[in-house]
Amino acid sequence: MAYIYPAPGVANVECTLRIHHTSKSADATGLLIPALQDITVNASNDVFTWTQLDEGDKLQVATTSTNSLAMNLVLEQTSFFGNSAASANTAVKSGVFGLSTGKTRCEFDLYLGDTSSGGAGKTVNGFGYITGLAPTVSADSPVWVSPITITVDGAYSVS
């Protein structure tokens, strides 16, 4: 058994998300999103359902899948708003907020973390758009946190 077992804070073992502006070929380095609190990988198949007179049960067939990554992150200023000194058309320059407001199609690599047996883990890759930002702060929770969603354009690939 090799459970997926990321260790928070341990380099190369922890779960990481790297976003590339447009694609990895256009922005090789990408932006490693820091301070993620949680990640949910959604792969929700739509199902077409029908009934027929010679069946006592409904029949179904899977159609298309809606894929997305849902996360919450603690806002870190440079990664969220971008580094103006960075090269143009990179995720580092745009930041998470810039990629969202610019409606930039991004490529992402989500490393799930090493396995419980110490082996290298899997990486979920895909293209999508950053959406769902809703930074919030309050007197009782005086640190800016925000949900973030990457709506995936097309399919995931796992390597």
């Binding site: 260790a7 928070p8 990481t16 820091p34 992150l73 870190e76």
Partner: protein, 133 residues
Amino acid sequence: MRQAVIDAIAALSLGTFQVSESLPWSSQGENLAIRNFRTIYVDEPESRETAILNTLDGGTGLAQRVTEISAQMAVDAKQQPSNFVSLVQSITQCRNSADLPATVSRECDVTHVYQDDVLITTFQFRFRELVTP
């Protein structure tokens, strides 16, 4: 932080009271506050840190540091000083002193305990700070 509390109290109109730089040590079961009526003693701070926002990359999480400082004074319960009530309120407000470091919240609890004919008043200041990596 202790010195900031002492300075904030010293800046008040203390009347017949005074604030001491000494720690509230005790001798033969009797602490300095009881020996020296109307003298305010401020203890060393105690603190604890707890994680409040854990992140998947560990080192970027946030912690909260709660620092507590207690101050104590004693008066003759039979002859309560005329400015006692107003002074207690003023000392409580010292939690908002600009000399204290930036904090998320500043609180102060006041408790009164009688020991024979001595009224011992304790101020428990509580400061919450965010600790970033």
